[in-house]
Symmetry: none
Subunit: 353 residues, 2 copies
């Protein structure tokens, strides 16, 4: 079942039975190298997470490392959920967007879009992103995109991405403190707060919007702001498959529109996340979505791991992992196409045997 | 699940969720009339097998004879598998290629491509095929093909086709003895060996490649060599849905390329067969595939009849029938689209009630 966070259910229902393309935004920010900042990946190998996630959703195995990315507590990557959906009710196509990767996924026969975007720096020292350029690349990508399906599900894999998103939202003047989720059950607020403070301290009062994004953002946030605005001239519905990071993309768009005195037609845009994000008590995606000037439909897929007894998956229900690699949007796609919670659970379990 | 025989899994994975057209090559060779040479069909009516297979996969009934083609031991044609897949996850279209049929399938509304190709003679007495002409018709077909789908699954129904394939491979100088499968569990090596010897005895040292193919080949092998080479100028992925006969098409192509000093781009070509062929101990498809100069992705669909208790289907698992009518490729198509082994089994069983 699909539940509504903001807006109404009509847009989601209109996608029932439609075929979707899954686009995965992969990006590295040096912010992830800060000790203890994220749980999304293997310690010392966090930069590999998006690469391994891409390999796993596309072909069901990881080539750039021996095993599937797990968090230190043994929570497997949400890529398992996205892959399970792809096996049960395949996406029309999977395409990858290299938004600044350190290691390219080892895949043949899958479309990998490259934009000449470098991994971004740590926001503690300045992300150093050519923000306007990355933004414009997002617009251009939207304008030239050729799609074989009815709509896009846009996922992301950006280790430490909730930290850069929090810093970005605060730097853009939103009251976003305590509203961003974390890959940890208990967000590492000490470390994260210190990093965000360091990032915000670098903002100068003369900085314009893109100067700010250059310092505290990440490539995914900036590119996708451009991508979504670029889609306005196309007739392609899009589901932002993610939690508070995707909400932050909308916060960025909101400031860009205010700057340009523009408007966003959101009739064909929605956000869809997981139940773990929607019900997370240490973040507040609904509050973030209500900070933008435009109406936005947002949903979550009513899926949890109550039907499994696998201890690693149970950790999701305990809040140790919540979202990523488009899991929320993928679950919505499955549920909208008649795939049951039980089938999804069994398929995810099959990867862990 | 799709398993890899040669190459890697990427090409197969890239077809997940894509729609396919199913093309069935139907051909008669008088070789099938040799007593005891094949188990693919009804004794005395073997020439009808491709006609009946085509009718059954297209419309679910046989019109040119009262009952579905069965082998003497009661093994039903693999067309049942292909038809089951088509019911569970339909092909975008089914088209028939008459590559020398004695009896045309009685079908309306299905595209039947005719090429003015006559049934070929028995290789024991000279197949008497206008090989260059048939080859060129394959090229022309590829160049003019209009497709509504993302890729082609190419199946075949040629009674005695493994015998003509074995003779062809040997005549072309491949070390192919004991590497070709048979419709029998225990290949009729006495009869087959005698026929192949008779065929090879007809080869003259002055024969060129096409002279040789004219004498010992069959229309399917020669036409498809042209078809696949013709597809090089098109952007259409193709799955050769078959076992050692389809491997032989690649052996033929390999010799043609050597003669022309040409190359084959195999990025969009794969072979897919059944588990019964892949695990057959009396043939060796992997060895055949490794004899060509180009890399080739080859797979098998991890499907067997372990979930049924129907005695006629159990014979597959005992090796009495292995492949044909594109069963391996059809199974891959089903598995790549989320159809379960259990559903396929139940659907095939339903035809036998």
């Amino acid at each position: 079942m699909i539940k509504t966070i903001t807006g109404n259910r009509d847009f989601a229902e209109s996608l029932r039975g439609k075929r979707s393309s899954f686009l995965l935004c992969m990006s590295n920010t040096k912010t992830a190298a800060i000790e203890g900042i994220t749980q999304a990946g293997i310690p010392g190998m966090l930069h590999l997470t998006p690469t391994l996630d891409a390999e796993f959703i596309a072909i069901g195995e990881v080539r750039s490392l021996g095993t599937i990315a797990e968090t230190p507590k043994g929570v497997p990557t949400p890529a398992l959920i996205t892959r399970a959906v792809h096996l049960l009710h395949p996406f029309r196509e999977i395409e990858m967007l290299d938004l600044g990767l350190e290691i390219t996924p080892k895949l043949e026969h899958f479309k990998l879009h490259s934009f000449g975007i470098a991994p971004s720096g740590s926001i503690a020292e300045g992300a150093n992103i050519p923000a306007e350029e990355v933004f414009e690349k997002g617009i251009a990508f939207a304008q030239n995109l050729v799609l074989q399906s009815d709509y896009i599900i846009l996922g992301e894999s950006v280790p430490a991405g909730t930290t850069t998103a929090l810093a970005t939202a605060l730097a853009l003047g939103y009251d976003a403190q305590d509203k961003f989720s974390s890959s940890f059950k208990n967000a590492p607020s000490g470390i994260r707060a210190r990093v965000v403070d360091q990032a915000l301290a670098r903002i100068d009062e003369n900085d314009d919007l893109f100067d700010t994004l250059s310092k505290v953002g990440d490539n995914m946030l900036i590119f996708n702001a451009g991508f979504i605005l670029g889609l306005q001239s196309r007739d392609i519905p899009i589901v932002l498959a993610g939690g508070t990071q995707m909400a932050c993309v909308l916060l960025v768009i909101n400031r860009i529109l205010q700057m340009m005195e523009g408007e966003l037609d959101t009739a064909k845009i929605a956000l869809c996340t997981t139940k773990w994000v929607a019900e997370d008590t240490s973040s507040d995606i609904k509050a973030l979505l209500e900070m933008v000037d435009f109406p936005i439909n947002a949903y979550y897929a009513d899926f949890d791991f109550s039907l499994t007894s696998h201890p690693a998956l149970k950790l999701y229900d305990e809040g140790e992992a919540k979202e990523g690699v488009g899991a929320g949007g993928a679950l919505m796609y499955a549920l909208l196409n008649g795939i049951t919670k039980d089938s999804i659970t069994r398929k995810v379990e099959s990867f862990l045997q």
